[in-house]
Each structure stands twice: as structure tokens, then as C-alpha cells.
């Protein structure tokens, strides 16, 4: 009896959440409700596709005029009506790479601490703190970068680097404070919370039995991490890193405020000022006159859109692969 009841309940639930009622059309009100939610979903999908379409259509003039040379051309020059974003791509890649180079080890170390070594009383304040950071708007990072970090770099940081590491091509040239170095440092600070949050979450999915098994074998805590935690969570951590990369590549305000927005002598120096793709948009849209200029600004946006779309796609795919493996279902 009991079994029968629960079986019929299960089938009822199945019917209530599946498409069967909708197909058989038993209840008009339900159909209507489903229709409405579906309509809103379709609007959201249309928005996503619409954004992509609007970007492609409006950047078509430059796409058809310059083709791939838009990516390799140095000059973004409204006067001669010729456009290219190579320096912006360079600036975007250099600052993002710099940010990841420092944020990955720091973030991983911090998340290992939070997951495996953190004394219990510290956990809640740390979680509170990371929530707080996720909420700080990027313009405030930009303000800090422009008013505090850049002047410090100009007077103290860059001269010090130049004096001690000046033989490297990265730390030479004019010290202006703002530039690729400042932008990379601000991006490092901005993506750190993201890397910590994702890797912490992924490391927490490692089954406790795995840790206990290694501890029982006499492993030290580092060996537990090395042999149980990291191999298990590396895909998810990679996902988090790619997520952070997407964030760094697309960050607009903080980078725009500290990267300098000026061409400088070509070279490898991090002291140089430069552009990023999104800083080109933020700085140029105001002057953009209809025609190729406007189209070039929008194509810069299209490139940012595509790059972040791809990186996010990769990241979500990797993370979802991991959570599926551990049976991370909702219900």
C-alpha cells in the first residue's frame, strides 16, 4: 500500500514537472502559465542573440573594409580613417597575463589555507570578507589605482624595479605611474577573490573520505592536498582560472583609469602606457562619428564579446564537468 502510494506520487510528480500535461493540453491555465515563462525565456535568448547581432551588423563596415588587418594594424586613427587594434590587443593580453601570473599562485595558496588549514573561528570572517570584496565596484578599484597605486609606482615602485631589475627589458623607460604595470597590478587584486572563491568551492567538493584515507596512511597535510585534493579538483581550478582570465580580459573601468590610454614607444617595458580593447571603447565612443569610426569602436566591442564568450564557455564547461562527476545535483 505504502509502496503503491509513493509510486503513484512519484508518477504524479513526474507528470507535474515533465512536459506530458502540456502536450496533452489538459489544463488551459497551466498551459498559459508555461507559455508565459517560455515567452520570457525566449525574450532572454533573443536578447543574447540580439546583442551578438547588433555588434556584428554595426561593425560590418570595418569588418568588410579591413578584414583581418583590423587585428594587426597598429593605428586607430580617425584622422586618416584607418583603424586597427593591435596595441589594444597587446595591452589587454599583457595586463591579463600579468594578473594571472600573480593571482594564480596567491589565490591557490589562499584557497588551500581557507579549505585545509584555516582555524574554525577565522572561517566566517574570511567568507564575509570575500563577499564584501565581490561587491566592491570596479570604479573604486580604478580610483584606488589612479590616486594611490599609480603615484606610489611612479615615485617608489618603478624606480626600485628599475634599479634592481632594470637589466630586464620589462622594467625600463619612462616612469609615469600609470601604464601596463599599474593596470596589471590592479587586475591582479580584482581577479584574486574570483580565483579564491572558485577554487575554494571546488576543493570543498573533494570527498572527506579521500582526505581521511590519505591521513590514515600517514600522509602529512600537504601530502593530502598534493595527492588527494589537487588532482581531484584541478579541472575545476582550471575552470576558475579561465573565468578569472575572462574577467581580466573584459575589465573596463579599472583598466581604463590606470593604463594610460596613450601610445608609447613600442617595446616590452611594463612601464609603458597603452590601451586595452575595452579602454578603447570607453575612450573613443564619445568622439565616434557615424561611419568607419563608429564601426571600429563597435568592432572592438565585438572582439571583447567573442573573447570573453569563448573563455566563459570553456570555464563553465570545465566546472560543470567536475560538478557532474561528483553528483552535484540540486534536488
Amino acid at each position: 500500500m505504502q509502496q503503491q502510494l509513493s509510486a503513484s506520487l512519484a508518477s504524479l510528480r513526474e507528470r507535474s514537472v515533465g512536459w506530458s500535461i502540456a502536450r496533452s493540453g489538459k489544463r488551459p491555465a497551466d498551459l498559459l502559465f508555461r507559455g508565459i515563462t517560455m515567452l520570457f525565456v525566449l525574450i532572454v535568448l533573443a536578447l543574447v542573440i540580439g546583442v551578438a547581432l547588433v555588434l556584428v551588423i554595426n561593425s560590418w563596415p570595418t569588418i568588410s573594409t579591413f578584414g583581418f588587418s583590423f587585428l594587426t594594424n597598429q593605428a586607430f586613427d580617425p584622422v586618416h580613417n584607418t583603424y586597427g587594434v593591435l596595441p589594444a590587443i597587446f595591452g589587454t593580453l599583457v595586463t591579463s597575463a600579468f594578473a594571472l601570473l600573480f593571482a594564480i599562485p596567491l589565490g591557490l595558496g589562499a584557497s588551500i589555507f581557507v579549505v585545509d588549514f584555516c582555524p574554525r573561528p577565522l572561517r566566517v570572517p574570511l567568507a564575509f570578507f570575500s563577499d564584501l570584496l565581490a561587491a566592491v565596484p570596479s570604479v573604486i578599484f580604478g580610483l584606488f589605482g589612479f590616486l594611490v597605486l599609480a603615484p606610489w609606482l611612479q615615485l617608489t615602485g618603478e624606480p626600485w624595479l628599475n634599479k634592481h631589475l632594470g637589466f630586464l627589458p620589462f622594467f625600463q623607460g619612462q616612469m609615469q605611474g600609470v601604464g601596463l604595470l599599474a593596470a596589471g597590478m590592479i587586475l591582479t587584486i580584482m581577479v584574486l577573490p574570483l580565483i579564491v572563491a572558485v577554487s575554494r568551492e571546488v576543493m570543498l567538493t573533494v570527498p572527506g573520505a579521500q582526505r581521511e584515507a590519505l591521513l590514515a596512511l600517514g600522509a602529512t597535510r600537504w601530502e593530502v592536498i598534493r595527492y588527494a585534493v589537487l588532482p581531484f579538483s584541478r579541472i575545476g581550478i582550471l575552470g576558475g582560472i579561465i573565468l578569472a582570465l575572462g574577467r581580466a580580459l573584459g575589465e573596463t573601468m579599472a583598466v581604463t583609469m590606470v593604463i594610460g590610454n596613450q601610445a608609447s614607444r613600442p617595446g616590452l617595458s611594463l612601464f609603458n602606457t597603452g590601451y586595452s580593447l575595452s579602454s578603447v571603447i570607453a575612450n573613443q565612443f564619445g568622439e565616434a562619428t557615424p561611419g568607419l569610426f563608429l564601426s571600429a569602436v563597435i568592432e572592438a566591442g565585438l572582439i571583447v564579446f567573442l573573447i570573453t564568450f569563448i573563455t566563459n564557455f570553456l570555464a563553465r564547461w570545465l566546472i560543470s564537468r567536475l560538478t557532474r562527476r561528483t553528483g552535484g545535483t540540486h534536488l
Binding site: 502559465f33 573596463t252 583609469m257
Partner: protein
Amino acid sequence: MSTALHTEKQTDTSPFRPRSPVREMQRQTVNMLVIALCVLCVLFVVGVLIYLIVYVLKQGIAYLNLDFFTKLPRPNGETGGGMGEAIQGTLILVGLAALIGVPLGLFTAIYLAEFGRGRFALAVRFLVDLLNGVPTIIFGLFAWVLIVIPQQTFSGLSGGVALGIIMIPIVARTAEDVLHLVPNELREASLALGATEAHTIVRVVLPAALNGIITGIVLAMARVAGETAPLLMTAFGTTFWSTDVTQPMDALTLRIYNFTLSPYPEQINQAFTGSFVLIMLIVLASFAVRWATGGFKRRF
């Protein structure tokens, strides 16, 4: 990993059994070193971020006064004044954004949590997640091309549209998570009493999840209140009181941005105060809503 353990296992009963005092010392030293390194990482990360926040807040609070909330910015180089129009603008823009983002996000969440099965639902969820990762300036460009350029004027409306699109994925994902937390027994009980599916969702599931949904909405509003990039090319900013959404509108973030880059020390001070107010607005909103709706998860 398993192969490494396996080969060691053949020579020893346990891979971690100390073979010699030297090796044991080595293992313990490495262990301590790694722990020390991790502690250093945390101290560095937390230290830098605390320094940043405390610095901005400390600079900001020094120039905080009532005028800041009620007055307009003074002309360049003059002291005094405030960011009243920017605070008002941010509230209007976030309100507009909520009008767009909340219904779209909420219905998407209801679809995903209650009806969505199979490949299509997976695709929708994936796309919503991707939308969340797209840089917000892209939605600014979108609203700029579709609204600002045809209207030939920057407007609060276009800013609200851009922020609204940014809200959709945040609302959708948080609301979906909360809806999943509502026990299935509630739905079954309602259906067993003869309620229709629509009735069950509107009268049983949504009320049960209301606290969590409201939390999600407020957090999404707090998040878009901090957006700058999409507003640059849509709301644009102004230094006058403006409630007309077809005209340029100021926002706290836009004013902070403009004043940060200003050569006048008074305006830089105002930028810090603006940051203070913005952080407080966001933090207070998030905590107020958590406090007011607290215990949602404990109920189930």
C-alpha cells in the same frame, strides 16, 4: 596520481611510511613550508584588500556631510557641494533596471527550476551563465547603438536598459537556486489537493521561496548600482537634477569616475566620499536584506 602511489606501494606497505629519519624530516619540513606559504598568501591577499578598502573609506568619510546628499556638484575648483543628483540618478537607474531585470530573470528562473528539462533547459542555463560573464560594457554598447544613437541623445532610459540586461542572469541564477531548495513535498501536497500547476507555483512555491528571491533581487540591484562602464555611453552623466529618463542622467559611479580623473583636489575628495557612500549603499543593502530575510535556509 594512482600510478605514483601504486609503484611506491610495491616497495613499501605504505607510501607515506617514513623510510629514514632524514626523509621524515624532509616531509615534515615541506609540510611546514607549504603551510607557511599558504598563510603568507592569505595574509598578503587579505592585507592588500583591507588596505584598499580602509584607505578609500577613511579618505571618504573625512568629507562626508549632509550637503553631499542634498547639493549639486560645485563648479570646477570651488569647494563644497555634493552629489545629490548622482545619488538620485543611481536610484532611478537601478529602479529602471529592476523593471526589466526582475521579471525576465524571475520567469527564466521559474522556467528553469519548474519546467525546464532536457537539452533546451541546459542550453538556456548555460547561456544565462555566459551572459553573466560578458563584460558589462558590451551591454552599454548594445543600448548605445539601439537607443542612444537613434534618439541622438544620451538618456537615463538607455542606461536603465543596459543595467536591466545585466541584472537578468544574476536574478535568474539566484532565484533558480532558491526555487530548487523548496521541498518537492510542498508541490506534491498542493497538487494532491487538486491545485493546478500554475496555482501551485504562484501560491505555494513562490511564497515559500520569497525571502531567497528577494535577497537575490536586492543583491543584483546592489551589483548594478556599482556598474560604471555601461553607463558611460548611455546615461552619460550630468551635473544637474534630472528625473527625465529621456535625458542624460547622473550616477554615483559616473561622478566618481569623472571626479577621480579631475585635476581639482576638491573633486578628488568628493570622489572618495562618493566611493564611501557607494560602498556603504551596497554593503548596507546586502546586509539589510540578509538580516530581513535571514533564516531562509534554516526553514527547510
